[in-house]
Protein backbone atom coordinates (compact mmCIF):
# COMPACT_ATOMS: atom_id res chain seq x y z
CA UNK A 1 0.00 0.00 0.00
CA UNK A 2 1.35 3.39 -0.95
CA UNK A 3 0.22 6.46 0.95
CA UNK A 4 1.07 9.86 -0.49
CA UNK A 5 1.00 12.81 1.90
CA UNK A 6 0.85 16.34 0.50
CA UNK A 7 2.92 18.68 2.61
CA UNK A 8 3.51 22.38 2.26
CA UNK A 9 6.00 24.78 3.62
CA UNK A 10 4.30 27.83 5.03
CA UNK A 11 5.30 30.74 7.21
CA UNK A 12 5.18 30.58 10.97
CA UNK A 13 2.31 33.03 11.68
CA UNK A 14 4.01 34.09 14.93
CA UNK A 15 6.84 35.60 12.90
CA UNK A 16 4.58 37.67 10.65
CA UNK A 17 3.46 41.17 11.54
CA UNK A 18 1.06 43.49 9.81
CA UNK A 19 2.40 46.84 8.74
CA UNK A 20 -0.55 49.18 9.09
CA UNK A 21 1.29 52.10 7.53
CA UNK A 22 2.15 50.18 4.38
CA UNK A 23 -0.96 48.01 4.42
CA UNK A 24 1.03 44.89 3.80
CA UNK A 25 2.51 41.95 5.63
CA UNK A 26 5.80 42.64 7.34
CA UNK A 27 7.81 39.54 6.47
CA UNK A 28 11.24 40.75 7.56
CA UNK A 29 11.38 38.30 10.45
CA UNK A 30 9.25 35.63 8.83
CA UNK A 31 10.46 32.08 9.26
CA UNK A 32 9.42 29.22 7.03
CA UNK A 33 7.97 26.17 8.71
CA UNK A 34 6.36 22.93 7.70
CA UNK A 35 2.66 23.64 7.86
CA UNK A 36 1.53 22.15 11.18
CA UNK A 37 -1.79 21.04 9.66
CA UNK A 38 0.11 18.81 7.24
CA UNK A 39 1.98 17.06 10.05
CA UNK A 40 -1.35 15.65 11.21
CA UNK A 41 -1.80 14.11 7.76
CA UNK A 42 1.68 12.61 7.91
CA UNK A 43 1.03 11.24 11.40
CA UNK A 44 -2.15 9.54 10.15
CA UNK A 45 -0.22 8.01 7.25
CA UNK A 46 2.55 6.73 9.52
CA UNK A 47 0.02 5.10 11.84
CA UNK A 48 -1.64 3.30 8.93
CA UNK A 49 1.78 2.08 7.77
CA UNK A 50 2.63 0.86 11.25
CA UNK A 51 -0.61 -1.13 11.39
CA UNK A 52 -0.63 -2.67 7.92
CA UNK A 53 2.72 -2.02 6.29
CA UNK A 54 3.35 -0.21 3.06
CA UNK A 55 5.15 2.93 2.05
CA UNK A 56 4.64 6.56 2.99
CA UNK A 57 5.79 9.15 0.47
CA UNK A 58 5.65 12.86 1.23
CA UNK A 59 5.15 15.18 -1.74
CA UNK A 60 6.29 18.74 -1.23
CA UNK A 61 5.93 21.55 -3.77
CA UNK A 62 8.02 24.66 -3.43
CA UNK A 63 11.16 26.60 -4.08
CA UNK A 64 14.55 26.16 -2.43
CA UNK A 65 13.63 26.22 1.26
CA UNK A 66 10.80 23.71 0.72
CA UNK A 67 13.46 21.01 0.62
CA UNK A 68 13.63 21.35 4.41
CA UNK A 69 10.01 20.28 4.65
CA UNK A 70 10.73 17.22 2.51
CA UNK A 71 13.66 16.35 4.80
CA UNK A 72 11.55 16.94 7.90
CA UNK A 73 8.92 14.52 6.59
CA UNK A 74 11.67 11.90 6.24
CA UNK A 75 12.89 12.68 9.77
CA UNK A 76 9.36 12.16 11.08
CA UNK A 77 9.29 8.73 9.45
CA UNK A 78 8.25 9.01 5.79
CA UNK A 79 10.03 6.35 3.70
CA UNK A 80 10.92 8.98 1.19
CA UNK A 81 9.90 12.38 -0.05
CA UNK A 82 9.46 13.96 -3.45
CA UNK A 83 10.41 17.60 -3.66
CA UNK A 84 8.87 19.26 -6.70
CA UNK A 85 10.88 22.37 -7.40
CA UNK A 86 8.45 25.05 -8.50
CA UNK A 87 9.23 28.71 -8.21
CA UNK A 88 6.04 30.15 -9.69
CA UNK A 89 2.94 31.14 -7.80
CA UNK A 90 1.53 28.15 -6.00
CA UNK A 91 -2.21 28.56 -6.37
CA UNK A 92 -4.53 25.70 -5.48
CA UNK A 93 -4.90 24.76 -9.13
CA UNK A 94 -1.13 24.76 -9.70
CA UNK A 95 -0.46 22.65 -6.62
CA UNK A 96 -3.16 20.17 -7.59
CA UNK A 97 -1.75 19.73 -11.08
CA UNK A 98 1.75 19.15 -9.68
CA UNK A 99 0.71 16.71 -6.97
CA UNK A 100 -1.54 14.76 -9.35
CA UNK A 101 1.34 14.44 -11.82
CA UNK A 102 3.63 13.31 -8.98
CA UNK A 103 1.16 10.62 -7.90
CA UNK A 104 1.07 9.36 -11.47
CA UNK A 105 4.85 9.43 -11.79
CA UNK A 106 5.17 7.47 -8.56
CA UNK A 107 3.12 4.77 -10.24
CA UNK A 108 -0.11 5.62 -8.47
CA UNK A 109 -1.14 5.52 -4.84
CA UNK A 110 -3.78 3.85 -2.72
CA UNK A 111 -4.42 6.77 -0.45
CA UNK A 112 -3.60 10.45 -0.72
CA UNK A 113 -3.72 12.46 2.50
CA UNK A 114 -3.64 16.22 2.88
CA UNK A 115 -4.11 18.60 5.77
CA UNK A 116 -6.32 21.60 6.22
CA UNK A 117 -5.03 24.84 4.82
CA UNK A 118 -2.82 26.85 7.15
CA UNK A 119 -3.38 30.39 8.36
CA UNK A 120 -1.44 32.18 5.64
CA UNK A 121 -2.02 29.49 3.06
CA UNK A 122 -3.93 31.04 0.19
CA UNK A 123 -3.68 27.87 -1.92
CA UNK A 124 -6.13 26.38 0.55
CA UNK A 125 -6.76 22.77 1.41
CA UNK A 126 -5.83 20.45 -1.45
CA UNK A 127 -7.78 17.26 -0.67
CA UNK A 128 -11.05 18.30 -2.32
CA UNK A 129 -9.30 19.49 -5.46
CA UNK A 130 -7.12 16.38 -5.65
CA UNK A 131 -10.11 14.07 -5.27
CA UNK A 132 -11.81 15.84 -8.17
CA UNK A 133 -8.64 15.85 -10.27
CA UNK A 134 -7.89 12.17 -9.65
CA UNK A 135 -11.55 11.15 -9.82
CA UNK A 136 -11.30 9.43 -6.43
CA UNK A 137 -13.72 9.65 -3.52
CA UNK A 138 -13.03 12.29 -0.87
CA UNK A 139 -13.11 11.63 2.84
CA UNK A 140 -13.59 15.00 4.52
CA UNK A 141 -12.50 15.91 8.04
CA UNK A 142 -10.79 12.58 8.84
CA UNK A 143 -9.69 12.44 12.47
CA UNK A 144 -8.22 8.95 12.51
CA UNK A 145 -7.93 5.73 10.52
CA UNK A 146 -8.61 2.26 11.90
CA UNK A 147 -6.92 -0.69 10.29
CA UNK A 148 -9.08 -3.75 10.74
CA UNK A 149 -9.09 -7.23 9.20
CA UNK A 150 -12.12 -6.19 7.15
CA UNK A 151 -10.24 -3.22 5.73
CA UNK A 152 -9.51 0.41 6.37
CA UNK A 153 -12.01 2.65 8.17
CA UNK A 154 -11.96 6.39 8.64
CA UNK A 155 -13.35 8.21 11.64
CA UNK A 156 -14.38 11.66 10.46
CA UNK A 157 -15.79 14.69 12.23
CA UNK A 158 -19.48 15.09 11.48
CA UNK A 159 -21.66 17.84 12.91
CA UNK A 160 -20.02 17.92 16.32
CA UNK A 161 -19.69 14.16 16.62
CA UNK A 162 -17.93 11.65 14.41
CA UNK A 163 -18.87 9.12 11.83
CA UNK A 164 -17.10 5.90 10.90
CA UNK A 165 -16.99 4.88 7.30
CA UNK A 166 -15.20 2.23 5.26
CA UNK A 167 -12.50 3.62 2.98
CA UNK A 168 -12.83 2.42 -0.59
CA UNK A 169 -9.37 2.66 -2.11
CA UNK A 170 -8.03 4.54 -3.89
CA UNK A 171 -9.21 7.60 -2.03
CA UNK A 172 -8.23 11.08 -0.98
CA UNK A 173 -8.70 12.23 2.60
CA UNK A 174 -8.43 15.58 4.28
CA UNK A 175 -7.00 15.00 7.75
CA UNK A 176 -7.87 17.37 10.59
CA UNK A 177 -6.21 17.34 14.02
CA UNK A 178 -7.41 14.32 15.99
CA UNK A 179 -6.67 13.20 19.51
CA UNK A 180 -3.00 12.44 18.90
CA UNK A 181 -0.36 15.04 18.28
CA UNK A 182 2.06 14.46 15.42
CA UNK A 183 5.22 12.70 16.54
CA UNK A 184 8.53 14.48 16.97
CA UNK A 185 11.15 13.85 14.30
CA UNK A 186 13.41 11.09 15.64
CA UNK A 187 17.09 12.01 16.11
CA UNK A 188 18.33 8.90 14.32
CA UNK A 189 16.17 9.88 11.30
CA UNK A 190 17.19 13.52 11.58
CA UNK A 191 20.80 12.35 11.34
CA UNK A 192 20.23 10.70 7.95
CA UNK A 193 17.41 12.78 6.44
CA UNK A 194 19.85 15.05 4.62
CA UNK A 195 21.77 12.12 3.18
CA UNK A 196 21.31 10.99 -0.40
CA UNK A 197 18.55 8.58 -1.24
CA UNK A 198 15.66 9.96 0.80
CA UNK A 199 14.48 12.93 -1.24
CA UNK A 200 13.90 12.87 -4.98
CA UNK A 201 13.97 16.21 -6.75
CA UNK A 202 11.55 16.59 -9.63
CA UNK A 203 10.32 19.49 -11.72
CA UNK A 204 7.22 20.26 -13.72
CA UNK A 205 8.84 19.74 -17.13
CA UNK A 206 10.04 16.26 -16.16
CA UNK A 207 6.48 15.35 -15.27
CA UNK A 208 5.21 16.56 -18.64
CA UNK A 209 3.33 19.57 -17.32
CA UNK A 210 3.14 22.66 -19.45
CA UNK A 211 2.72 26.30 -18.50
CA UNK A 212 -1.00 26.33 -19.15
CA UNK A 213 -1.74 23.46 -16.80
CA UNK A 214 0.16 25.32 -14.09
CA UNK A 215 -1.37 28.76 -14.60
CA UNK A 216 -2.64 30.14 -11.32
CA UNK A 217 -6.41 30.34 -10.80
CA UNK A 218 -6.04 33.14 -8.29
CA UNK A 219 -3.54 35.80 -7.43
CA UNK A 220 -2.91 37.80 -4.31
CA UNK A 221 -3.85 41.45 -4.02
CA UNK A 222 -3.21 43.80 -1.13
CA UNK A 223 -4.41 43.58 2.45
CA UNK A 224 -7.70 44.81 3.79
CA UNK A 225 -7.20 46.04 7.33
CA UNK A 226 -9.89 46.23 9.98
CA UNK A 227 -10.00 48.77 12.77
CA UNK A 228 -6.90 48.95 14.94
CA UNK A 229 -7.08 47.20 18.30
CA UNK A 230 -8.25 49.70 20.86
CA UNK A 231 -7.70 48.84 24.49
CA UNK A 232 -9.24 50.26 27.59
CA UNK A 233 -12.88 50.59 26.48
CA UNK A 234 -15.37 50.66 29.33
CA UNK A 235 -18.88 49.34 28.88
CA UNK A 236 -21.36 51.01 31.20
CA UNK A 237 -24.88 50.20 32.35
CA UNK A 238 -26.30 47.52 34.63
CA UNK A 239 -24.59 44.09 34.61
CA UNK A 240 -27.38 42.80 32.37
CA UNK A 241 -27.05 45.68 29.91
CA UNK A 242 -23.26 45.40 29.87
CA UNK A 243 -23.52 41.63 29.34
CA UNK A 244 -25.89 42.07 26.41
CA UNK A 245 -23.77 44.77 24.81
CA UNK A 246 -20.57 42.78 25.23
CA UNK A 247 -22.18 39.61 23.89
CA UNK A 248 -23.16 41.58 20.79
CA UNK A 249 -19.64 42.95 20.33
CA UNK A 250 -18.01 39.52 20.77
CA UNK A 251 -20.50 37.85 18.43
CA UNK A 252 -19.59 40.42 15.79
CA UNK A 253 -15.96 39.43 16.26
CA UNK A 254 -16.95 35.75 16.05
CA UNK A 255 -15.58 35.15 19.54
CA UNK A 256 -18.78 33.66 20.92
Amino acid sequence: MRIVVCMKQGIDPKTVKISRSREELDLREARPQTQPEDKHALEAALRIREARGGEVVAVVVGSRSAEDTAREAVAMGADKAVWIVYKGQRSGKTMTALVKAAVERLGGADLVLAGQGGDLDTAGPLAGRLAAALGWPLIADALRFDVEPAGLYAVAAFEGKATRLPVVLPAVAEVIPGAERPRYPHPSRIAVAWNDGYVETWNAAEMGLEEEALAADAEMGGLVLGAERQRGQVIGGSPEQAAEELAGILRGKRLL
Binding site: P13, K93, R129, E219, I235
Partner: protein
Amino acid sequence: MGFDLSDLQALMGGSFEEPTGESGGVWVVSPDGLIDDAMLRLIGKGRVVADALGGYVYLLAGCNGAGADTEGAIRAGADKVLTAGGMPTVNELADFFRERQPQAVLLPRNRLGKALGPGLAQTLGGSLCPYAADLAVDPIYQRIVAHQPILDDAARMQVILLAAPAVAVMETALLPAAFNEPWRQGEVGDTQLMWSEPPSHEMVDRPARPITLKTSPVVVVAGQGLTDDAGFAAAMELADALGGVVAGDVTALDMGWIGEESLVGLTGETIGPELVIALGVDGDTSFMMGVAEAGCLVAAQADAGAPIVPFADYNVVGDPAEFARAFAKAARG
Protein backbone atom coordinates in the same frame (compact mmCIF):
# COMPACT_ATOMS: atom_id res chain seq x y z
CA MET B 1 -9.19 57.90 -29.34
CA GLY B 2 -12.50 56.94 -27.90
CA PHE B 3 -14.26 54.58 -25.59
CA ASP B 4 -15.67 51.41 -26.86
CA LEU B 5 -18.70 49.97 -25.17
CA SER B 6 -16.84 47.48 -23.01
CA ASP B 7 -14.62 50.18 -21.53
CA LEU B 8 -17.66 52.20 -20.71
CA GLN B 9 -19.34 49.19 -19.15
CA ALA B 10 -16.30 48.60 -17.02
CA LEU B 11 -16.21 52.22 -15.87
CA MET B 12 -19.91 52.21 -15.05
CA GLY B 13 -19.39 49.08 -13.00
CA GLY B 14 -22.11 47.20 -14.83
CA SER B 15 -23.28 45.61 -18.03
CA PHE B 16 -25.73 47.15 -20.46
CA GLU B 17 -26.93 43.75 -21.53
CA GLU B 18 -30.10 42.55 -19.89
CA PRO B 19 -29.42 39.24 -18.20
CA THR B 20 -31.39 36.49 -19.82
CA GLY B 21 -32.00 32.82 -19.14
CA GLU B 22 -30.13 30.87 -16.53
CA SER B 23 -26.64 31.48 -17.80
CA GLY B 24 -23.97 33.55 -16.13
CA GLY B 25 -24.95 35.25 -12.93
CA VAL B 26 -24.11 34.61 -9.32
CA TRP B 27 -25.26 31.30 -7.90
CA VAL B 28 -25.72 30.69 -4.22
CA VAL B 29 -25.91 27.00 -3.34
CA SER B 30 -27.59 25.45 -0.31
CA PRO B 31 -26.74 21.75 -0.77
CA ASP B 32 -29.11 20.58 1.97
CA GLY B 33 -31.89 22.99 0.97
CA LEU B 34 -31.81 24.82 4.27
CA ILE B 35 -32.34 28.57 4.06
CA ASP B 36 -31.47 29.99 7.43
CA ASP B 37 -30.17 33.40 8.38
CA ALA B 38 -26.65 32.40 7.32
CA MET B 39 -27.91 31.50 3.82
CA LEU B 40 -29.89 34.75 3.61
CA ARG B 41 -26.72 36.71 4.36
CA LEU B 42 -24.91 34.75 1.69
CA ILE B 43 -27.69 35.59 -0.78
CA GLY B 44 -27.26 39.25 0.18
CA LYS B 45 -23.55 39.09 -0.61
CA GLY B 46 -24.45 37.40 -3.90
CA ARG B 47 -26.82 40.30 -4.60
CA VAL B 48 -24.08 42.89 -4.07
CA VAL B 49 -21.70 41.02 -6.37
CA ALA B 50 -24.37 40.48 -9.04
CA ASP B 51 -25.29 44.16 -9.02
CA ALA B 52 -21.65 45.08 -9.58
CA LEU B 53 -21.35 42.56 -12.39
CA GLY B 54 -24.80 43.16 -13.81
CA GLY B 55 -26.41 39.77 -13.49
CA TYR B 56 -28.99 37.68 -11.72
CA VAL B 57 -28.74 36.00 -8.34
CA TYR B 58 -29.85 32.40 -8.32
CA LEU B 59 -30.37 30.26 -5.30
CA LEU B 60 -29.96 26.56 -5.88
CA ALA B 61 -31.40 24.49 -3.02
CA GLY B 62 -31.05 20.74 -2.62
CA CYS B 63 -33.41 18.31 -0.85
CA ASN B 64 -36.35 19.84 -2.79
CA GLY B 65 -35.83 23.01 -0.86
CA ALA B 66 -36.96 21.31 2.32
CA GLY B 67 -37.17 23.94 4.99
CA ALA B 68 -36.52 26.60 2.37
CA ASP B 69 -37.96 30.01 3.02
CA THR B 70 -38.19 30.93 -0.66
CA GLU B 71 -40.00 34.20 0.06
CA GLY B 72 -37.26 35.17 2.47
CA ALA B 73 -34.63 34.26 -0.12
CA ILE B 74 -36.26 36.59 -2.65
CA ARG B 75 -36.56 39.42 -0.12
CA ALA B 76 -32.85 38.84 0.66
CA GLY B 77 -31.93 39.37 -2.98
CA ALA B 78 -32.46 36.18 -5.01
CA ASP B 79 -33.94 36.66 -8.47
CA LYS B 80 -34.66 33.02 -8.95
CA VAL B 81 -34.90 30.10 -6.55
CA LEU B 82 -34.35 26.66 -8.05
CA THR B 83 -34.84 23.43 -6.19
CA ALA B 84 -33.57 19.92 -6.82
CA GLY B 85 -34.07 16.59 -5.09
CA GLY B 86 -31.38 15.00 -2.91
CA MET B 87 -27.95 16.38 -2.19
CA PRO B 88 -25.43 16.97 -4.96
CA THR B 89 -22.04 15.32 -5.27
CA VAL B 90 -19.21 17.37 -6.74
CA ASN B 91 -19.77 15.82 -10.16
CA GLU B 92 -23.53 16.37 -10.12
CA LEU B 93 -23.06 19.99 -9.18
CA ALA B 94 -20.39 20.41 -11.85
CA ASP B 95 -22.69 18.85 -14.48
CA PHE B 96 -25.44 21.27 -13.50
CA PHE B 97 -23.21 24.31 -13.82
CA ARG B 98 -21.25 23.28 -16.90
CA GLU B 99 -23.73 24.67 -19.44
CA ARG B 100 -24.91 27.54 -17.30
CA GLN B 101 -21.44 29.05 -16.99
CA PRO B 102 -21.95 30.98 -13.78
CA GLN B 103 -19.69 33.92 -13.03
CA ALA B 104 -19.60 33.05 -9.36
CA VAL B 105 -20.73 30.21 -7.13
CA LEU B 106 -21.11 30.96 -3.42
CA LEU B 107 -21.21 28.18 -0.84
CA PRO B 108 -21.54 28.50 2.92
CA ARG B 109 -18.42 27.45 4.84
CA ASN B 110 -20.04 24.50 6.58
CA ARG B 111 -19.35 20.78 6.25
CA LEU B 112 -21.08 20.48 2.87
CA GLY B 113 -19.75 23.71 1.43
CA LYS B 114 -16.18 22.85 2.40
CA ALA B 115 -16.52 19.39 0.85
CA LEU B 116 -18.03 20.64 -2.43
CA GLY B 117 -16.31 23.96 -3.13
CA PRO B 118 -12.75 22.87 -3.96
CA GLY B 119 -13.86 19.93 -6.10
CA LEU B 120 -16.34 22.12 -7.98
CA ALA B 121 -13.71 24.74 -8.81
CA GLN B 122 -11.30 22.02 -9.89
CA THR B 123 -13.81 20.17 -12.07
CA LEU B 124 -15.11 23.31 -13.80
CA GLY B 125 -11.65 24.77 -14.27
CA GLY B 126 -12.68 27.77 -12.21
CA SER B 127 -10.95 29.53 -9.38
CA LEU B 128 -11.38 29.09 -5.65
CA CYS B 129 -11.21 30.97 -2.40
CA PRO B 130 -11.65 28.26 0.25
CA TYR B 131 -12.19 30.69 3.10
CA ALA B 132 -13.76 34.02 2.20
CA ALA B 133 -15.05 36.62 4.63
CA ASP B 134 -16.17 39.04 1.94
CA LEU B 135 -16.41 39.44 -1.82
CA ALA B 136 -15.94 42.50 -3.96
CA VAL B 137 -15.78 43.23 -7.66
CA ASP B 138 -12.80 45.07 -8.98
CA PRO B 139 -14.28 48.06 -10.88
CA ILE B 140 -11.73 48.14 -13.69
CA TYR B 141 -11.42 44.52 -14.72
CA GLN B 142 -14.72 43.30 -13.25
CA ARG B 143 -12.88 40.48 -11.51
CA ILE B 144 -14.25 38.94 -8.37
CA VAL B 145 -12.00 39.54 -5.38
CA ALA B 146 -12.39 37.43 -2.25
CA HIS B 147 -11.18 38.64 1.13
CA GLN B 148 -9.55 35.78 3.00
CA PRO B 149 -8.97 36.24 6.75
CA ILE B 150 -5.38 35.73 7.85
CA LEU B 151 -3.64 35.76 11.23
CA ASP B 152 -6.86 35.08 13.14
CA ASP B 153 -8.66 37.71 11.09
CA ALA B 154 -6.21 40.44 12.08
CA ALA B 155 -6.29 41.34 8.39
CA ARG B 156 -7.75 40.03 5.17
CA MET B 157 -5.82 39.10 2.07
CA GLN B 158 -7.37 39.99 -1.26
CA VAL B 159 -7.55 36.93 -3.47
CA ILE B 160 -8.28 37.83 -7.08
CA LEU B 161 -10.23 34.99 -8.64
CA LEU B 162 -9.04 34.85 -12.23
CA ALA B 163 -10.98 32.01 -13.82
CA ALA B 164 -14.75 31.63 -14.08
CA PRO B 165 -16.61 30.41 -12.23
CA ALA B 166 -15.21 32.07 -9.13
CA VAL B 167 -16.06 29.63 -6.35
CA ALA B 168 -16.09 31.15 -2.88
CA VAL B 169 -16.64 29.15 0.27
CA MET B 170 -17.84 31.88 2.59
CA GLU B 171 -17.76 32.32 6.35
CA THR B 172 -21.35 33.46 6.73
CA ALA B 173 -20.84 34.59 10.35
CA LEU B 174 -18.60 37.36 9.07
CA LEU B 175 -21.12 38.68 6.55
CA PRO B 176 -23.37 41.68 7.23
CA ALA B 177 -27.02 41.20 8.16
CA ALA B 178 -29.35 39.85 5.50
CA PHE B 179 -31.44 42.16 3.33
CA ASN B 180 -35.16 42.11 3.86
CA GLU B 181 -36.62 44.06 0.93
CA PRO B 182 -40.31 43.24 0.43
CA TRP B 183 -40.49 45.02 -2.92
CA ARG B 184 -38.16 42.50 -4.51
CA GLN B 185 -39.64 40.07 -6.95
CA GLY B 186 -38.41 36.71 -8.02
CA GLU B 187 -39.54 33.37 -9.26
CA VAL B 188 -39.39 29.88 -7.89
CA GLY B 189 -38.73 26.92 -10.13
CA ASP B 190 -37.79 23.26 -10.04
CA THR B 191 -34.81 21.88 -11.90
CA GLN B 192 -36.49 18.46 -12.12
CA LEU B 193 -33.12 17.06 -11.05
CA MET B 194 -32.82 14.18 -8.65
CA TRP B 195 -29.46 14.17 -6.98
CA SER B 196 -27.98 11.43 -4.84
CA GLU B 197 -29.46 10.53 -1.51
CA PRO B 198 -27.12 11.56 1.27
CA PRO B 199 -25.30 8.45 2.59
CA SER B 200 -26.31 7.14 5.97
CA HIS B 201 -23.76 7.60 8.70
CA GLU B 202 -22.67 5.28 11.47
CA MET B 203 -22.22 7.74 14.30
CA VAL B 204 -19.45 7.18 16.82
CA ASP B 205 -18.01 9.25 19.64
CA ARG B 206 -15.59 11.84 18.45
CA PRO B 207 -12.04 11.06 19.53
CA ALA B 208 -11.51 13.78 22.08
CA ARG B 209 -8.71 16.25 21.74
CA PRO B 210 -7.92 17.10 25.31
CA ILE B 211 -8.86 20.70 26.03
CA THR B 212 -6.32 22.24 28.36
CA LEU B 213 -5.58 25.72 29.57
CA LYS B 214 -3.00 25.94 26.77
CA THR B 215 -5.30 24.77 23.96
CA SER B 216 -8.71 26.15 24.93
CA PRO B 217 -9.83 29.07 22.73
CA VAL B 218 -11.72 30.65 25.63
CA VAL B 219 -10.40 31.02 29.19
CA VAL B 220 -12.27 32.48 32.14
CA VAL B 221 -9.86 33.65 34.84
CA ALA B 222 -11.17 33.86 38.40
CA GLY B 223 -9.59 36.40 40.74
CA GLN B 224 -9.78 37.97 44.14
CA GLY B 225 -12.79 40.15 43.32
CA LEU B 226 -15.09 37.13 43.14
CA THR B 227 -14.66 37.08 46.94
CA ASP B 228 -16.36 33.77 47.76
CA ASP B 229 -17.26 30.30 46.51
CA ALA B 230 -20.53 31.58 45.06
CA GLY B 231 -18.52 34.06 43.00
CA PHE B 232 -16.26 31.28 41.75
CA ALA B 233 -19.33 29.21 40.87
CA ALA B 234 -20.42 32.11 38.62
CA ALA B 235 -17.03 31.93 36.88
CA MET B 236 -17.49 28.20 36.30
CA GLU B 237 -20.98 28.77 34.98
CA LEU B 238 -19.64 31.35 32.53
CA ALA B 239 -16.82 29.05 31.35
CA ASP B 240 -19.42 26.36 30.76
CA ALA B 241 -21.65 28.74 28.79
CA LEU B 242 -18.72 29.84 26.61
CA GLY B 243 -17.37 26.31 26.14
CA GLY B 244 -14.05 27.31 27.67
CA VAL B 245 -11.99 26.35 30.66
CA VAL B 246 -11.80 28.06 34.02
CA ALA B 247 -8.48 29.19 35.40
CA GLY B 248 -7.40 31.59 38.11
CA ASP B 249 -4.85 34.00 39.49
CA VAL B 250 -2.78 33.53 42.64
CA THR B 251 -5.73 34.36 44.90
CA ALA B 252 -7.83 31.67 43.27
CA LEU B 253 -5.00 29.24 43.94
CA ASP B 254 -4.79 30.34 47.59
CA MET B 255 -8.57 30.02 47.95
CA GLY B 256 -8.33 26.45 46.68
CA TRP B 257 -10.61 27.22 43.72
CA ILE B 258 -8.05 26.01 41.20
CA GLY B 259 -4.98 23.78 41.14
CA GLU B 260 -1.50 24.90 40.23
CA GLU B 261 -1.95 23.64 36.65
CA SER B 262 -4.71 26.24 36.15
CA LEU B 263 -2.73 29.24 37.38
CA VAL B 264 -2.46 32.03 34.81
CA GLY B 265 0.48 34.43 34.90
CA LEU B 266 4.24 34.42 34.80
CA THR B 267 4.30 32.14 37.83
CA GLY B 268 1.94 29.70 36.11
CA GLU B 269 0.97 29.36 32.49
CA THR B 270 1.45 31.99 29.81
CA ILE B 271 -1.56 31.69 27.53
CA GLY B 272 -2.71 33.15 24.23
CA PRO B 273 -6.31 32.07 23.60
CA GLU B 274 -8.76 33.92 21.39
CA LEU B 275 -10.71 35.27 24.35
CA VAL B 276 -9.88 35.76 28.03
CA ILE B 277 -12.55 36.89 30.48
CA ALA B 278 -10.89 38.07 33.68
CA LEU B 279 -13.30 38.22 36.61
CA GLY B 280 -12.25 40.18 39.67
CA VAL B 281 -8.62 40.43 38.55
CA ASP B 282 -7.05 43.86 39.03
CA GLY B 283 -4.03 42.98 36.90
CA ASP B 284 -0.57 42.68 38.41
CA THR B 285 2.47 42.43 36.12
CA SER B 286 2.63 38.65 36.41
CA PHE B 287 -0.98 38.22 35.33
CA MET B 288 -0.87 40.73 32.50
CA MET B 289 2.30 39.24 31.04
CA GLY B 290 0.66 35.82 31.29
CA VAL B 291 -2.23 36.89 29.02
CA ALA B 292 -0.36 39.34 26.78
CA GLU B 293 -0.83 37.07 23.76
CA ALA B 294 -4.61 36.80 24.15
CA GLY B 295 -6.63 37.86 21.11
CA CYS B 296 -9.19 39.74 23.20
CA LEU B 297 -9.23 40.47 26.93
CA VAL B 298 -12.43 41.33 28.78
CA ALA B 299 -12.06 42.46 32.38
CA ALA B 300 -14.86 42.71 34.90
CA GLN B 301 -13.88 44.08 38.31
CA ALA B 302 -14.91 46.79 40.73
CA ASP B 303 -12.09 49.36 40.52
CA ALA B 304 -12.22 51.86 37.62
CA GLY B 305 -8.59 52.77 38.34
CA ALA B 306 -7.18 49.22 38.37
CA PRO B 307 -4.07 48.56 36.24
CA ILE B 308 -5.99 46.09 34.09
CA VAL B 309 -8.42 48.75 32.77
CA PRO B 310 -6.18 50.37 30.13
CA PHE B 311 -4.75 46.93 29.23
CA ALA B 312 -8.06 45.11 28.66
CA ASP B 313 -9.93 45.48 25.38
CA TYR B 314 -13.29 45.78 27.15
CA ASN B 315 -13.99 46.58 30.78
CA VAL B 316 -17.08 46.20 32.88
CA VAL B 317 -16.67 48.05 36.15
CA GLY B 318 -18.83 46.47 38.84
CA ASP B 319 -19.40 43.24 40.71
CA PRO B 320 -17.67 40.53 38.64
CA ALA B 321 -19.87 37.67 39.89
CA GLU B 322 -23.06 39.49 39.01
CA PHE B 323 -21.66 40.29 35.57
CA ALA B 324 -20.53 36.68 35.06
CA ARG B 325 -24.03 35.38 35.71
CA ALA B 326 -25.60 37.95 33.38
CA PHE B 327 -23.02 37.29 30.69
CA ALA B 328 -23.47 33.52 30.89
CA LYS B 329 -27.17 34.11 30.25
CA ALA B 330 -26.49 36.52 27.38
CA ALA B 331 -23.94 34.16 25.81
CA ARG B 332 -26.38 31.24 25.92
CA GLY B 333 -28.68 33.55 23.96
